[in-house]
């Protein structure tokens, strides 16, 4: 068929590479999507790793009970666990914490986040108390200082009081055995 455009002078034909560009772009974009499928967009990386635990002095869980301060975390490896009586996943995690406490490997300190007075105590009475010391963070000051976005979250602190690892979500027995325990052991070896 005759090409009317050619009769009057050809419009510049577009080169092959231009025709291929859209397909190439699509592959590139799909590549990023594929990688994106392996990531969790909700998870924020922790900025507190290798930084000193912030200064804090939490209110006691109940009258007369000893409270938690950052000085308590120095001198030994420890785990700080952020929980709340309103947090369902914390109930799921709690037996594992009790187990860890019973094994005596590492002390666990509890931060009762955003709880009414008395609620934390009642919850610990009901589900058990694995914590060496506990304190209440009623207005999220410590939580914000730690970059907490939800409960439960746990931090592994070294002998110098520095945050070395953050775990978001409940601690299961696999996570304890495969991830946290090795870290604790390393830090103990480091500290001694």
């Amino acid at each position: 068929m005759s090409n009317p455009a050619q009769q009057v002078g050809s419009v510049r034909p577009f080169p092959l590479w231009a025709a291929v560009v859209p397909a190439v772009l699509l592959l590139l974009v799909s590549g990023f999507f594929a990688v994106g499928l392996t990531r969790d967009p909700h998870r924020l990386p922790s900025l507190m790793i290798d930084r000193q635990m912030p200064e804090f002095a939490l209110a006691p869980l109940s009258e007369g009970r000893q409270t938690l301060r950052n000085e308590d975390l120095v001198g030994h490896v420890s785990i700080v666990n952020v929980f709340g009586s309103w947090c369902i996943a914390c109930v799921a995690e709690h037996p594992q914490l009790i187990e860890i406490a019973r094994s005596g490997v590492v002390p666990i300190y509890g931060v009762d986040w955003r709880d009414e007075p008395g609620a934390g105590t009642a919850w610990l009475v009901r589900y058990g108390d694995p914590y060496t010391l506990t304190g209440v963070d009623a207005d999220s000051r410590l939580a914000i200082d730690l970059g907490v976005t939800g409960a439960p979250e746990s931090f592994v602190i070294d002998t110098g009081g520095r945050i070395r690892y953050k775990h978001v979500g409940p601690i299961t027995s696999e996570i304890w055995a495969d991830t946290l325990l090795p870290i604790v052991r390393n830090l103990e070896a480091e500290g001694s």
Binding site: G9, L44, L47, A143, D145, G147, T149
Partner: protein, 156 residues
């Protein structure tokens, strides 16, 4: 007795500060409030992640709002308050992504696209002016006829 009275007076004198210590909100200052809302709108809620802390109903957002107001009332600038938050949560909490090396493409992208579009126009479309003109210059008569034709037909 005198000591007891003294103790009682001291206790009463310290009462207002105790109330202040327990009071959750700092004093209401309209200028601070306005600045706090601006900062609040520029920070992303880390729980729901698609609202600012100003709009979010999450409890953590409420605590963050209070923190923002306290720090502004204490004299910090909005940028300093934002820096406090990004220091702990990262750049994710900023609604407006920072301009840094790895966001250069993001910020320059639109300009780049516009330049590409302009380049495409200049290379593929503009040369047509010569072609169309060379193709068929319409005579006066034809132009008028065409104009009439177009106007009558109310073409679209």
């Amino acid at each position: 007795m005198k000591h007891l009275a003294m103790a009682l007076m001291l206790f009463l004198a310290s009462a207002p500060s105790m109330v202040a210590a327990y009071a959750q909100e700092p004093e209401f200052d309209p200028k601070v409030e306005a600045a706090a809302r601006e900062v609040g709108k520029s920070l992303r809620c880390v729980v729901c992640q698609n609202q600012s802390i100003e709009d979010s109903g999450a409890p953590l957002a409420a605590d963050m709002r209070r923190l923002v107001r306290e720090r502004l009332a204490a004299g910090e600038s909005p940028d300093e308050v934002r820096a406090y938050m990004t220091d702990r949560y990262g750049n994710f909490v900023l609604m407006k992504p920072p301009v840094q090396l790895d966001t250069l493409l993001l910020w320059l992208g639109p300009l780049l696209f516009a330049c590409l579009a302009l380049a495409g126009w200049l290379v593929y479309v503009r040369p047509r002016t010569q072609i169309a003109a060379a193709a068929e210059p319409l005579t006066e008569e034809e132009q008028r006829a065409l104009a009439r034709h177009l106007a009558e037909g109310a073409e679209l």
